[in-house]
Amino acid sequence: MTAAAAFTLEVPKSGRWPIFGWFAVLFLAGAQITAFAISPPDRDMGDLQKILYVHVPAAWNMGICYLLVAIYSFRYLWKRDDRDDLIAASAAEVGTLLNGLTLVLGMIWARPTWGVWWVWDARLTSTLIMFLVFAGYLALRAFVEEPDRRALWSAVAGIMGAINYPIVYMSVRWWRTIHQVQSTPSTLDPTYTFSLRLNAVAVLFILIYFIRRRYEAALTERVTEQLSQAAALGGPLHA
C-alpha cells in the first residue's frame, strides 16, 4: 500500500484546459481569413499553394506529438508512473492522425503539381514508415491486456518510432529526393509565411486540446478499470 500510494490515480478534471480548444477555433478562423482572403495565389501553382497551410503545420505538429511520445515514454521507463504511459499514448494517437493527414494532403498536392500521387523517394517512404510504426504502436496497445506490460512495450515502441522524426525531417537534405527541401522565410512570400505560422499555431492548439482530452479519457478509463478490479478482488473501493 505504501509503494502504490505514490502513483494513486484519480479521475482528472478538465480545469482550464478547454480554453485551448477555443484558442484553436479562434486561430483557425483567423488563419482561414489570411490564407484565403489576404495571401495571393502562387505564381506557379495558383490556389494549390494553399495546401501548404495544412500540410506543413500537420507535419511540424506531428513532430511535437512524437517528441512528447519520446519524452513521456522515457519518463515512464524511469518513474513507472502510469500517467506518463497514458500521456505518451494520447500524444501518439494525435501524432498518428497528423502523420496520416500529412501523407494524404501531400498526395493530394503531389498529383496536380508533381504529376503523380506517390513516389518512393526517401522523404515519402520514411514518412510512411513512421506512420506504420505508430499504427503498430496503437495496435500493440490494443492487443496487450496487462497494463504494466503494455506500458513497458509501448514505451520502447514509442521511442523507436519517435527516432524516425529527425530522419524524416532531414531526409530531404541527406538524400536526393523528389520532395523539395524545407522552405524558409526567404523562399516564401511574406504573406505566405504569416499565414503558415498562424495555421501552425492553430494546429498546435488543436494538438494540445486533443492530447489533453484523450489523456483525460484514458485516465478515467484506467481508474474505472482499477476500481472494478479492486471490487472483483473483494478489496475496498477506495484504498
Partner: protein, 163 residues
C-alpha cells in the same frame, strides 16, 4: 498500485529491470541510427543527374533509370496530336545536356527551367525515352508580380482530366 494486495506484490518487481530496460533502449536506438546513417547515406539516390548518367557511358544504355535535372529553356517541342513531347534536360550547372522524348501530356507545371525527373531508359541513340515525367518543385513560393497572373491550374486540370 491497484489494490493493496496487488501493489505489494508488483511494486518490488517493477523496480529491478529499470536500468536493464534503459540500456536495452539505448542499444536499440544506437543500432537503428547506425544502420540508417551508415547504410543509407550514399545509396538512397532517387535519380541521376545528366552528368552522372553521361559519366556512366555504355553501362547506362538501355537500363531502367531515373534522370533528374532542369528543362533547358527553349528546347521544348510538343506535338499535341501525337502526344509527343521533346525537351533537353540539363544539370543545375547548365552542363550535361540530354535529349528526352516523352509520351503523353506533361504535368501542368511543366515549363522552361522547371525541375523534372524522368523515368525511362537512355537509348543507344543518345535520346532518353521517358515513360513517366515527374515535376520536382523548388522550395520557393511567390506571389505573382504586379500585372502577372497566377496560374489557374485547378481549372485547366478539370478541363483536361480525361487525358
Amino acid at each position: 498500485m491497484t489494490s493493496p494486495e496487488l501493489g505489494s506484490t508488483l511494486a518490488p518487481a517493477k523496480k529491478r529491470p529499470k536500468a536493464g530496460i534503459i540500456a536495452m533502449v539505448v542499444v536499440l536506438v544506437a543500432a537503428f541510427g547506425w544502420l540508417m546513417m551508415g547504410n543509407l547515406d550514399k545509396n538512397v539516390v532517387f535519380f541521376l543527374t545528366p552528368n552522372e548518367l553521361l559519366a556512366k557511358g555504355t553501362e547506362a544504355i538501355d537500363v531502367p533509370v531515373r534522370l533528374g535535372g532542369q528543362v533547358k529553356a527553349g528546347t521544348v517541342t510538343w506535338d499535341e496530336k501525337a502526344l509527343d513531347l521533346r525537351f533537353d534536360v540539363v544539370d543545375t550547372d547548365g552542363k550535361g545536356t540530354i535529349h528526352v522524348q516523352s509520351k503523353g501530356a506533361p504535368p501542368q507545371m511543366f515549363r522552361d527551367g522547371m525541375g523534372v525527373v524522368c523515368e525511362g531508359r537512355f537509348g543507344a541513340d543518345s535520346v532518353f525515352q521517358s515513360t513517366m515525367l515527374i515535376i520536382k518543385h523548388s522550395n520557393e513560393y511567390r506571389a505573382p508580380k504586379a500585372g502577372e497572373k497566377p496560374q489557374e491550374m485547378y481549372k485547366s486540370l478539370m478541363k483536361g482530366s480525361g487525358s
